[in-house]
Amino acid sequence: MALDLGMPILVVDDYQTMVRIIRNLLKQLGFEEVDDASDGTAALARLKNRKYGLVISDWNMEPMTGYELLRHVRADEALRTTPFIMVTAESKTENVIAAKKAGVNNYIVKPFNAATLKSKIEAVCGA
């Protein structure tokens, strides 16, 4: 199954630079429908208003972290199947395991490149 390049993707990060980097990488990969949010609270609001094919979220944000956002998404009947990739500098084993237990689909450690992002999106969204 080929990737749906038209699917909307939500990028969640409190650093606009990181949002811009991910946007550009996604653009390189052919994805044009990219929205962004600066933390979990803003992301949840967006998720309630639009159906996204993928969420790519940082972990370390305030007031709502990416981990909390993930738990909210997985607890919400309407959102629980939304593919979710964590992109973060938080790479201790316990963090990865906690995210996996909470239902994350994949996990990328910063810094990363387009090839890594592409392989994770393919693994999560089915290529």
């Binding site: 909390e68 201790k92 990865v96 996996k100």
Partner: protein, 177 residues
């Protein structure tokens, strides 16, 4: 100081030396403490060095953000260039913009060195003060710090690890295989 002098005079040749001696010791200790507090130069730290460190770090943040924006603007511009006869010349010109933007590193390096120096001063003075007054840390932890640690532990908010990621991407991939 006057108290110590009076106590010493009163104690000279006296038969009630214990109380006097203790008063003298307390007065000496207070005098010593005042000297050490003065040596701490707390006013200088809060008036000059710490605000300077704040300003320098703020400038570093602004400079890195500015440079990053310049580099990203240029990269986006290059990605959007038409594939025509001017492509190479335009890319070369834009590359020079990137090199110029990278000069931030020299300036920020110098600013960070000043902050490191200020922290070294602070550490040295606090260390000397703690040693001079034989300071012991009060038991327990600041309640705000406790709350912050609980939240960080609960949400595993550890921040980036020093010396790179604690777990490599390959090892993480194995957990998801």
């Amino acid at each position: 100081m006057a108290l110590a002098k009076q106590a010493r005079q009163a104690g000279a040749g006296s038969n009630k030396p214990t109380l006097i001696r203790e008063l003298v010791e307390i007065a000496d200790y207070i005098a010593h403490l005042r000297n050490e507090i003065a040596a701490l130069r707390a006013n200088e730290l809060t008036r000059d060095r710490l605000p300077m460190a704040h300003e320098e770090l703020g400038s570093v943040v602004a400079a890195t953000a500015g440079a990053t924006n310049s580099i990203m603007n240029t990269a986006e511009e290059i990605l959007g260039l038409p594939d025509d006869g001017n492509y190479r010349a335009t890319v070369e010109a834009r590359m020079n913009d990137i090199f110029e933007a990278c000069t931030f590193q020299d300036i920020t390096g110098q600013r960070i060195a000043k902050v490191v120096e200020a922290l070294r001063h602070l550490e040295s003075r606090l260390s000397r003060f703690a040693s001079a007054v034989k300071a012991k840390d009060k038991g327990g932890i600041d309640p705000e710090e406790v709350e912050r640690r609980v939240r960080n532990e609960l949400l595993l908010l550890n921040g980036p690890q020093l010396n790179g990621p604690a777990v490599a991407q390959d090892e993480i991939d194995a957990l998801f295989a």
